[in-house]
Symmetry: C2
DNA sequence: CCCTGATGCAACCGTGGGGTTGCACAGGAG
DNA sequence: CTCCTGTGCAACCCCACGGTTGCATCAGGG
């Protein structure tokens, strides 16, 4: 199958968002906490978390007056395995093309 | 390792670009040929191919007056394996958090 | 040689998305 | 009760990016 939801890619494509994801993968944190660590406003963080949540990449949990977020690896792993598999298939065709190029 | 592969993600994030990539993964094609198949101009295709090439995801070969492009799976597979691995690590932490949430 | 079709380059356009600021509201800590 | 701090919502800004059009160029085929 070659239909990985580009939505997931879009979620991972942004540098800041990736940092956020990696950070909360290392240890859960609130939006405010993340905003203190990264050079962007809390609102920016919130938006990133929303995108990541929509992509099923983060799990959020209200802890008192805070909302703690943590990265969910399941989706990422699944996506990763898909990519790996897809890439395998491509390389077969690539070999053929390169061969043809060299041969004539 | 959680190296920022956001460059590769950015290349994969766009829907049209992904279609192009999948298409030339199935079989090599020129920009003009792709432009005929997809609902975008040749120039748009060319730009996508440039982005993909910059990400090391396509291999281009001049064949007479045409330039044939084909998808390279190697990078994609490597990226996929990275994602899988990273995701694994996250899920460990996630388990801890969820446990704490349920426990109190 | 001449016509056709593929590529290359450049200018231009519109939208989306990342980022910000401001403000109102809620819930602990003292 | 009263601060302090974390969240939520909304309006707004700006630039990168996907896409287009136009034109010049180059390589094969008849």
């Amino acid at each position: 199958m070659s239909a990985p939801p580009d939505a997931a890619f879009a979620a991972l494509a942004d540098g800041t968002r990736w940092k956020v994801l990696v950070r909360i993968g290392r240890e859960p944190a609130s939006a405010s906490a993340l905003a203190r660590e990264l050079p962007v406003s809390r609102q920016a963080i919130v938006k990133h978390l929303e995108v990541l949540a929509a992509a099923g990449l983060v799990f959020s949990q209200r802890r008192g007056r805070e909302v703690v977020h943590v990265a969910v690896g399941e989706r990422l792993s699944a996506l990763g395995r898909d990519l790996d598999r897809i890439g395998q298939g491509w390389d077969d065709r690539l070999a053929v093309l390169k061969e043809a190029a060299e041969g004539g």
